[in-house]
């Protein structure tokens, strides 16, 4: 008998790279995504993917990925905690809005975050900052 159990899951999802919405399948072994597969029965992509879709798992496991906020101080990025980073950003935003108006700020959201987070981001831009300058990298 084995002492350590192998955990293997195949998790269906939707590709986050563009608005097409291809069905994908993540192969997760011991909590790590090891590969991305196209979903064969998905009506959108019918078992096919582009090169970005095939490599979706790469950015999850990338060593370049930021895991905590950085603040640029005297030209260098210094690691900090979330409270400080958010406070600092809020202060700077307020300063800029007071000086140049809300339309001096634009919000660029990402395909790598969820739909709900994207919704929140545009809500933040419109309701809190007061600008319609919202865009997304997957706006086809």
């Amino acid at each position: 008998m084995k002492e350590s159990e192998m955990e293997c899951k195949l998790v269906p999802s939707v590709c986050s790279y563009c608005g097409t919405g291809c069905g994908i399948l993540f192969e997760v072994i011991n909590g790590k995504i090891v590969s991305t597969l196209p979903m064969k029965t998905h009506p959108v992509n019918e078992g096919k993917l582009c090169i970005k879709g095939w490599n979706l798992h790469e950015h999850v496991n990338s060593f370049m990925r930021l895991k905590q906020p950085l603040v640029k101080t005297f030209g260098r990025f210094i690691k900090t905690d979330w409270d400080e980073a958010i406070q600092l950003t809020a202060d700077r935003f307020r300063e800029i809005i007071e000086k140049h108006g809300p339309d001096s700020i634009g919000v660029l959201v990402s395909a790598k975050i969820t739909n709900e987070e994207n919704y929140l981001a545009q809500k933040f831009a419109r309701a809190v900052i007061g600008t319609n300058n919202v865009d997304h990298c997957a706006r086809l």
Partner: protein, 273 residues
């Protein structure tokens, strides 16, 4: 089938079973384990075909001693044979439940995604290569015409690497298709026809004609036909049938001796594509 798998999981014959389960109306590959034994009730055959043996190699990479059970159609079985020969899986650690396969020239009935040949458009028939063509139909065209038709197919390539990624017998850590001095990853179009021919040559003695690459190709390049040709050359030259022969393939770089002798040269058919 379900009871057999259940018994295997219970008595420790296997640690994990790779089969299919319906999730949100999609038949998806699923790993069945002893911890979630009641899931085995949902084990099913799937019309859609995934490379279960590729998942098995990923599992074996994590834990070489893991005992794996899996559903096996004929193509899965052939892929497993190749993976055993190339030391990617240990045959002692793999048990299969053989199930009905896709129809082919050998089999009339099957339950597979490859069942319905895709409809090929008139333009593609005129200038390209019909995906449903047989190897011998291809010989009707002259050499120049054949090359032109293949070049038409190759120039459609969007270099998604899907054919390589989905291939059950592609397991190399370093791939020629990503080697800067051979093909290089960046530019589109890919180097023509080098990109496809490098892959074709590497498929010699490996391709088990499962057709997953062609099914995954967004541009409908008739890859299966291309690799069938390569396999036929291997058959003619070395009398080696990939997937069923029990010896190392003729192009094996593992081990220290050549395992296969070429057939006498006068019988060899080496005409180009």
């Amino acid at each position: 089938m379900n009871n057999e798998v259940k018994t295997w999981l219970e008595d420790g014959t296997i640690d994990i079973f790779l089969g299919y389960k319906e999730v949100d109306h999609h038949p998806l590959p699923h790993c069945f384990t002893k911890e979630r034994l009641d899931e085995v009730e949902d084990l099913m055959l799937s019309p859609a075909r995934y490379s279960l043996e590729k998942i098995a190699t990923h599992l074996a990479e994590e834990d070489p001693d893991i005992k794996i059970g899996m559903l096996a159609r004929d193509c899965n079985g052939r892929a497993l044979n190749v993976l055993y020969l190339w030391n990617q899986l240990n045959p002692d650690n793999v048990r299969t439940v053989n199930v009905n396969c896709c129809p082919s020239r050998l089999k009339e009935h099957g339950d597979c995604s490859y069942l319905e040949p895709e409809i090929v458009g008139a333009y593609k028939k005129q200038v390209g290569v019909d995906n449903n063509m047989r190897l011998e139909d291809m010989e009707v065209y002259g050499e120049t015409e054949r090359l032109d038709r293949w070049m038409y197919e190759f120039q459609k390539c969007i270099k998604c690497y899907g054919c390589r990624n989905i291939c059950p017998v592609c397991f190399c850590k370093e791939c020629s298709l990503e080697h800067d001095e051979l093909v290089g990853t960046g530019p589109l179009l890919p180097d023509m026809p080098v990109f496809h021919l490098v892959r074709a040559v590497h498929m010699a003695g490996r391709c088990i004609d499962c057709g997953l690459c062609e099914a995954a190709c967004p541009m409908d390049i008739p890859l299966r036909l291309l690799y069938q040709k390569v396999s036929q050359i291997v058959m003619d030259l070395f009398d080696y049938e990939t997937g069923t022969s029990a010896e190392q393939p003729p192009f094996s770089i593992l081990g220290d001796k050549v395992t296969l002798e070429p057939k006498p040269i006068e019988f060899a058919k080496t005409d180009s594509l």
